[in-house]
Symmetry: D2
Subunit: 349 residues, 4 copies
Amino acid sequence: MVKTSVSVVVNGYGVIGKRVADAVLRQPDMRLVGVADVVADWRIKLAASKGLPVYASTADRVSEMAKKGLKVSGTLEELLRNGAVDVVVDCTPAKVGARNRELYEKYGVKAVFQGGEKHEVAGVSFVAQRNYSEALGRQFVRVVSCNTTAICRVIGGIHEKIGVKKARVVVFRRAVDVWESSRTGIMNTVVPELQVPSHHGPDAQTVIKDLDIVTMAAKGSHNLYHLHMAMVEVRSKVTVEDVLKVVEEEPRVIFVSGEDGVDGLNAIFELSRDLGRPRGDLYEIPVWKDSVSVSQDGLEVYLIWATPNESNVVPENVDAIRAITELEKEARASISKTDEYLGIVKRVY
Amino acid sequence: MVKTSVSVVVNGYGVIGKRVADAVLRQPDMRLVGVADVVADWRIKLAASKGLPVYASTADRVSEMAKKGLKVSGTLEELLRNGAVDVVVDCTPAKVGARNRELYEKYGVKAVFQGGEKHEVAGVSFVAQRNYSEALGRQFVRVVSCNTTAICRVIGGIHEKIGVKKARVVVFRRAVDVWESSRTGIMNTVVPELQVPSHHGPDAQTVIKDLDIVTMAAKGSHNLYHLHMAMVEVRSKVTVEDVLKVVEEEPRVIFVSGEDGVDGLNAIFELSRDLGRPRGDLYEIPVWKDSVSVSQDGLEVYLIWATPNESNVVPENVDAIRAITELEKEARASISKTDEYLGIVKRVY
Amino acid sequence: MVKTSVSVVVNGYGVIGKRVADAVLRQPDMRLVGVADVVADWRIKLAASKGLPVYASTADRVSEMAKKGLKVSGTLEELLRNGAVDVVVDCTPAKVGARNRELYEKYGVKAVFQGGEKHEVAGVSFVAQRNYSEALGRQFVRVVSCNTTAICRVIGGIHEKIGVKKARVVVFRRAVDVWESSRTGIMNTVVPELQVPSHHGPDAQTVIKDLDIVTMAAKGSHNLYHLHMAMVEVRSKVTVEDVLKVVEEEPRVIFVSGEDGVDGLNAIFELSRDLGRPRGDLYEIPVWKDSVSVSQDGLEVYLIWATPNESNVVPENVDAIRAITELEKEARASISKTDEYLGIVKRVY
Amino acid sequence: MVKTSVSVVVNGYGVIGKRVADAVLRQPDMRLVGVADVVADWRIKLAASKGLPVYASTADRVSEMAKKGLKVSGTLEELLRNGAVDVVVDCTPAKVGARNRELYEKYGVKAVFQGGEKHEVAGVSFVAQRNYSEALGRQFVRVVSCNTTAICRVIGGIHEKIGVKKARVVVFRRAVDVWESSRTGIMNTVVPELQVPSHHGPDAQTVIKDLDIVTMAAKGSHNLYHLHMAMVEVRSKVTVEDVLKVVEEEPRVIFVSGEDGVDGLNAIFELSRDLGRPRGDLYEIPVWKDSVSVSQDGLEVYLIWATPNESNVVPENVDAIRAITELEKEARASISKTDEYLGIVKRVY
């Protein structure tokens, strides 16, 4: 019998978790059973005030959370035990997901992990437009990080259509998330990742196995959006127009332009808020059209894009749910549904 | 004959203008005729792509704007001349509004100015919950700046209910707006306003005539939300509970709490995005409940709040339209409508 | 017998410790025996490479520090035991000094603590120009924090010469120090201290017992220099000139001016680097001359200054050594020596 | 007759100019005749208060500068006319130097321009350790920008000793200088240079003609030091040790290490202040030793360094003076003198 709807719980109601929860609520073929967390601050209280059933991720947190005035509907394990859940989207902090895997195995529930976990946690690392079919029917899948997702969308498209000989990408990361910027930020500095290559390159290879890529990374003194600068050696001569066409065809990649006044990450954030999505989110990767360049010999491509770190993996999580539950067998069908329900577009203006 | 609906145009589609335009669109008793501007960057292109009629604020900008691929429906003056507009909300940059006043007089159209203009431009400076009736039926009204609005809401409430002997407020301003943070920002510094008192105190007195207040100000190295620290000598002994009650009763003032994890402007921004308003806006003034204190003798009150500079004057603009057009005769009735249509609340969680 | 020279060790070679060590090296009546710390990072390695004897603050750190390639001359306790030290300047992190006190008592050595410790640790809290004589001959003294020192210099001077009825000071703090800005900073936010009054007011009262003062504080998104905004009710009518005269007379307070282009903390830092002191340090409190204002009734004074948090307590530490060892009996004599050897001036240009 | 000493004037007393002036003062074979500028803010007033003769760069500025209380010794042209100057170091803002060239030609005076000018202004672009001899005896020479100087030092060394096939460098620039951070900064954003390649690559080729290099650049939200990330294809197989050896041999390049706690630009700035140079300057290029890596096939080298933008070109300016005046015929002799008098080292600790 084919499933036409699945029940989802989100474990970890942080930056990614709350966005995935809201995105699941907008999918007609999904039902959000509840959200789970271990704290009871304003974020989870707001979820409760919106009517979302809140569970404790672990039994030892129930009393503490209740004591802070939060209505706790039970523990995640109780919820899994009673069979109400088809898929857990695990958005807990890095490494915690790996420990949770045992729980999901115990109750035979499917799970989507995030990029903070290692590839081995799920065995399949996922970017919808690259390897949807690889995740079909699997118990576990890992949606790669925002940075790796962005690389797989943009460089992956160039690799499929033109052929990449070697890609070099430098990632200028936002230092910390907005909500935690009152504690663990960096100030008036750049902090490089001294290990070269950074993990992003090898991580992209868990999705696109034959991609030759090396990455370097540094944290900048800003808390929203990563900036990627790519230098891509290609296998055949191309023109700027060739590259623009390939990038334009990719789902969830859009163009912005310095000529229109979009001159920095701040302008992209202002633009994304104007688009009217929840929280001012941006699911697409905005590529600066006027940055796309080609070397004189036509064999190296340069381009710059922003990675909306809070939200660009949200549609991938939705697609990952469809893939592992086989709600949709084809990538394009799932992507198309997700994009429709989240309002994802190919042209922003 | 009593009007039951008014036609509005927004002149100046910037940080405030675009928000006022969207707010007008949500009022059943108002119709947005269009928006006017002088440039054709991504912001106004996005307005056009949403179907909003776009006008040139001045005739000399038409060709330039059209050349950049924007559909221009004509000039603002043409629109005013044909009688299609009851109210212009002038959200042009500081000082420009004063020059526009002549145009509005020429066509006998009513206008709402912003706090960047001087009090004299309109003769009435406006905060809905303080002096709505003063604006009734006037041709011109000036909605005061975000900072002054916040002071009038919070200190004004204490003044009305308890009586203020002397208020001292220090304003830590955001340096520049998000969209322009790629050009005119400040970095790793604080820039004080060397003129003491800063203009905020006298400006609050244009709304609350008998308020004794002095303000000092400085710009901080952040681009979102001002922070206000108030030291308020009151006319009679109070307790913390007295103050909390007064603040809680004020419209468009809410409590947040450090205990719940709201520890800085960043947390308030995260919270406001979670609330689900357009652009992650916050119309209310969030007062830190745990900052409210009273001196040992009960005669001085201390409190700290954030001023969401992009959006807290948006409901005032809507009320100002109702006041000058007499769509509503009573402050409370207008405030109540505005709050309903914009989703303004008294408790966020 | 009168001492004409004292031996000093600095315990804790951090932001303050390294500056105090260098300042002691410049005093002809003091001898720097060595510095002590618990880590062996580049900071202490640089001290060693300059030829400073380095000790382990605690015995359990010796092997770890030596393993990192640092030449460790022994433990602080060994040094104290052999009687080579007259004064320890304890610049260890807040609260650690309190624990170290026992060690100093055990060996009967005098000690200067910093403002991160409570007043009770020493019993005397110290600002040279306010209460030098109180510290004469004591075993322990506590140099108050940079913020409290600045308040005692500026407001203390007004109190002595004019008489303060009530002072209200708002402190806009730098978030963290430069060296740790890669880990624990704040980003694009302001973080208020929700407890009102902040600790600075009561702390100033440990030095100036009869000063009525209330303070509020917030951390800003910058890592260098605090900004203070003061509103001071005075006991008799004054003019701006009266205030300027009083401020000018205070030691270690200088004027800067917006008219000369000194418009923010960044300009003061640039100026301080141009002055040519070690590390670009500034020992004086720069008051913006053009910020000094008086209310219409002449009974309230307003002024704005910067507090060079890394270095303004350095001369106080030097004076504190002289006071407790009675190298100098008079405040003015010690201040004068310290200022000469550190190059402290009354006019910077 | 061989000159043994030259007279120098610095035109433009800004970030670079004031440092070059101080550096010239430290060279026994140079005499600083004075400095010239067009404004009279605190920076130039401080120069005057130190006893430096101050000239107006242009005649029309004399009265304005004098009116602000500055002692003006005359105009730059008068100074050049009376033959007192051998070399002008032109540190005026970009493009102004090109206009000044005519003046220098008129009086037959030699001049050193900065990297803000085009190569054509001087015809010779200069980095001491790369092409000193090319500048020998020339009337004009251009010291390239801080970024280009850094690239020429590090990549140039690898090119000379190992051979570079193709270098790719990404430059994360500081947005603006400290002193102007109160006006023209960027906030919580990254602003990419949309033109690819950025000008740095072609600019390096004006010094090292046969270097194949491509660069991309972006401005980050910090105001001190650039960060460079380099990916360098080399002509023969190398090991990490090979690369370390080559980098270590280069003059004015030093190693820092994340292991010692130098984890970001902030730590490098703290370190540079601890070194005790004027203004906390750093003349060397600090390369992170732990970032130096080599690809598996040994044919690509990765490394990360900081570029101390305020000061790393200061020694080059000194050497440029010696080269064009032929005070020294050999690069190594001039570099050695400059390094001695400025305290430049190969190991910082």
